[in-house]
C-alpha cells in the first residue's frame, strides 16, 4: 500500500549498513553496464526512493517466472530489493486470498495512481472472448486493461508475456498475444526468458527506482543492459567455435571435451540474453555450461523455429520433397526441349531431302 518512508529509512531500520548498500548499488550498476559514477547515483536514488507499489498479474503461464524470482534467494542484499517493493498483489502467491486479494489490487491502484508498476507473466488469450484464462470471473484481457490504465509502466516478465511464448506457439489455439500487443499507451519493458534471469528483473526494477525512468531498451523493448549481447558473444565455448571444434552429439568426445554445441542446434548466436555472463543459481552455471545448447528462449517464437536441435544454418524444414518435385519437372522440361529440337531437326532434314529430290 502507499508507503511514506524512503528506502534509505527502511534499510536503516533493517540494520543494513551504508557500506553494504553501496556495495549492492555498485553490483547493480555493473550488472547494467552503467558507468562507475552511476553506482553512487544509484545508491542515492534508491535511498531517496519510496517503496514502489507493484501489482503482479499472472495470465497464461507456467509459474516458472515467479519460481525464478522467488527462488533467486541470496544472502546478499539482492533479495532485499523486493523488500523495497510493495508487492501489493500477486495472482499466484495470493490465490488463496480470493476476494481480499482482488480488493488489495484495487486499493493499490487507487492509492498509487500513475505511480505503480504492473508486472505481468503469461500471455493473454484473445480467442472466443478470452475464455481460456479467467481470474475471479474476469478474462485476462479485462484485468490487464483495467490494471494497466493508471500504471507508470508495465513490465512483461518471461517470454509468454513479452512475445506470447508457448501459448502463442503454432497453432496458437487460444489466440494468445503478448502484453505489448494490448498495452499501447504505457511504457512496456520486456524481460523475456523461459524463465528470465532474476537479476534482469531486479536490475530493471532497481533502475526505475533509482533514476525514475526506464532503462535503455532494444528494438524488442528489452533492457540493453541484459539483452544487448548474444549468448554466443559471451560464451566460454566460443574459442572452440573459432577453431572449428564442435560436438557432433551430446555424448561424443567433443561433448565430453566441452566443445562448441553449434552443430547440435545451439541458438546462442541469435539469442540476446545474459545467461553466459550472469548465469543461474547464484552464478553457478547456465545451460551451455551444463552441456546443452541454448534454446533461444528470450527470442520471439522460439518454439516455432524449426526445432531445438536443428542447427542454425540449415533449412527450417526438409526441402527434399520440393527439390524432388522440382527435379522431376526439370527433367520433363529438359527432355521435352530436346525432343522438340530433335523433331525440328528431323523435319528440316526431311524437307531438305524432299527439295533435293525434287
Amino acid at each position: 500500500m502507499a508507503e511514506t518512508r524512503t528506502l534509505g529509512e527502511l534499510l536503516v531500520e533493517r540494520g543494513v549498513s551504508r557500506r553494504a548498500f553501496l556495495k549492492y548499488s555498485s553490483y547493480l550498476a555493473t550488472l547494467m553496464a552503467l558507468p562507475p559514477s552511476a553506482a553512487e547515483a544509484m545508491a542515492e536514488g534508491l535511498a531517496k526512493a519510496r517503496r514502489q507499489a507493484v501489482i503482479w498479474l499472472s495470465f497464461q503461464e507456467c509459474t516458472g517466472c515467479t519460481e525464478s524470482l522467488t527462488r533467486a534467494f541470496s544472502p546478499t542484499l539482492e533479495d532485499l530489493i523486493f523488500n523495497f517493493i510493495s508487492l501489493d498483489y500477486h495472482h499466484t502467491l495470493m490465490a488463496v486470498s480470493g476476494e481480499a486479494a482482488e480488493n488489495a489490487r484495487l486499493q493499490s491502484m487507487a492509492e498509487n495512481k500513475g505511480k505503480y508498476i504492473v508486472m505481468v507473466d503469461g500471455s493473454v488469450p484473445m480467442k472466443d472472448g478470452g475464455v481460456y484464462s479467467t481470474i475471479a470471473g474476469r478474462t485476462n484481457l479485462e484485468t490487464l486493461r483495467e490494471t494497466a490504465k493508471d500504471a507508470f509502466a508495465v513490465i512483461s516478465v518471461g517470454t509468454c508475456a513479452a512475445f506470447g511464448g508457448l501459448p502463442h506457439a503454432d497453432p496458437n489455439p487460444t489466440g494468445a498475444v503478448a502484453i505489448q500487443d494490448i498495452v499501447k499507451d504505457k511504457p512496456v519493458i520486456n524481460i523475456p526468458g523461459c524463465p528470465p534471469i532474476p537479476d534482469a528483473m531486479t536490475g530493471t526494477v532497481a533502475h526505475i527506482l533509482s533514476f525514475g525512468k526506464l532503462p535503455e531498451l532494444d528494438d524488442l523493448k528489452r533492457p540493453k543492459a541484459f539483452f544487448g549481447e548474444t549468448i554466443h558473444d559471451r560464451c566460454y565455448r566460443r574459442p572452440f567455435y573459432q577453431r572449428g571444434l564442435f560436438a557432433k552429439s551430446f555424448d561424443d568426445e567433443g561433448a565430453r571435451k566441452g566443445w562448441c554445441l553449434y552443430e547440435v542446434g545451439c541458438k546462442g548466436p541469435i539469442t540476446y540474453n545474459a545467461c553466459a555472463t550472469l548465469k543461474w543459481n547464484g552464478g553457478v552455471s547456465f545451460p551451455i555450461q551444463s552441456g546443452h545448447g541454448c534454446l533461444g528462449c528470450s527470442e520471439p517464437d522460439f518454439w516455432d523455429k524449426g526445432g531445438f536441435y536443428r542447427p542454425l544454418p540449415t533449412p527450417l524444414a526438409s526441402v527434399r520433397e520440393h527439390v524432388t518435385e522440382a527435379a522431376a519437372a526439370g527433367a520433363v522440361l529438359g527432355g521435352a526441349a530436346a525432343w522438340l529440337a530433335r523433331s525440328s531437326q528431323n523435319a528440316y532434314k526431311s524437307e531438305t531431302k524432299k527439295s533435293e529430290e525434287a
Binding site: R243, G244, Y262, P269, P315, L316, A327, G330, G334, R342
Partner: protein, 219 residues
C-alpha cells in the same frame, strides 16, 4: 515470421527448387540434343573421345604460352576466386551443416578463422575481377548484363557472410538472414545465367577437345 525464419524457410525451399529445376532442365536439354556427327576420317593421332575430353579440360586450365602474358591476371585471379569460394563453401562448419542437411554427408571443417581469411581474399579477388573487366577494352566489349548479375550474386553471399562474422551494419540474425537470402538469389540466378558454367565448362571444353583432336589439331 521474421526475416531469418523467412530466409531459412520459404526462401530456401523455393530457391533450391528453382535451382534444381533449372539445372536439370538445362543440362538434360543440352545432353539430349542430337550430337553433331563428324563424317570425316579421324587423324591417326586422334585419341578416344573420352581422352580428348580429359585432355582438353586439363589443357585449358592454363593459357597457351602465346597468351600467358596477356591473360595471366585473369587466370591467377580466377583461381584465387574459385579456390577461395570452394574453401569457403565446402570447408566452413556452418556450410557443411547446410550441405549435410540436404545430402546427409559430412566432412571435417577448417578452423573458422582460416575460412574468414580465405573469405576476405575471395572478396578482394571478386572486386579485382570486376575492376579488370571494367578497365579491359576487350572484356568491356564482350561483357553483357548477365556477366555483371552473375558477378553480383556471387559477391553478395561472400560479402554478407563476412559482414555476419564481423557483425557490422546490423544485428547478427539480420546479417545471417541477408546472407541466406543472398544465397537464395544465387541459387535462383544460377541455372539461367553464366553461373551455369560450373556445369557446362566441362562439356564445352570437352566438345572442343573432341573436334580439335579429331582433326589432329593441338589444343
Amino acid at each position: 515470421m521474421d526475416l531469418l525464419e523467412f530466409a531459412r524457410g520459404p526462401a530456401l525451399q523455393v530457391s533450391l527448387a528453382i535451382f534444381v529445376f533449372g539445372v536439370i532442365w538445362r543440362l538434360l536439354g543440352l545432353l539430349l540434343l542430337p550430337w553433331r556427327k563428324d563424317h570425316s576420317a579421324p587423324r591417326g593421332t586422334a585419341p578416344y573421345a573420352v581422352v580428348a575430353v580429359l585432355q582438353a579440360n586439363l589443357r585449358k586450365m592454363w593459357p597457351h604460352k602465346t597468351f600467358v602474358k596477356a591473360t595471366v591476371f585473369q587466370f591467377v585471379n580466377g583461381y584465387v576466386m574459385h579456390v577461395g569460394l570452394a574453401i569457403v563453401v565446402l570447408l566452413f562448419a556452418p556450410h557443411i551443416l547446410f550441405i549435410k542437411s540436404l545430402f546427409g554427408v559430412t566432412w571435417p571443417a577448417l578452423p573458422s578463422n582460416v575460412v574468414y581469411a580465405v573469405g576476405a581474399i575471395t572478396l578482394f579477388s571478386l572486386i579485382a575481377g570486376l575492376l579488370h573487366r571494367l578497365t579491359s577494352p576487350v572484356l568491356q566489349l564482350i561483357s553483357r548484363t548477365d556477366d555483371y548479375i552473375s558477378w553480383l550474386v556471387t559477391l553478395l553471399p561472400v560479402a554478407t557472410g563476412l559482414l555476419a562474422i564481423i557483425q557490422v551494419g546490423a544485428r547478427y540474425e539480420t546479417l545471417l538472414a541477408l546472407h541466406i537470402l543472398s544465397i537464395c538469389l544465387f541459387f535462383i540466378w544460377f541455372p539461367f545465367g553464366k553461373l551455369m558454367h560450373a556445369f557446362t565448362f566441362v562439356l564445352s571444353r570437352g566438345a572442343t577437345g573432341v573436334r580439335f583432336k579429331h582433326r589432329g589439331a593441338e589444343l
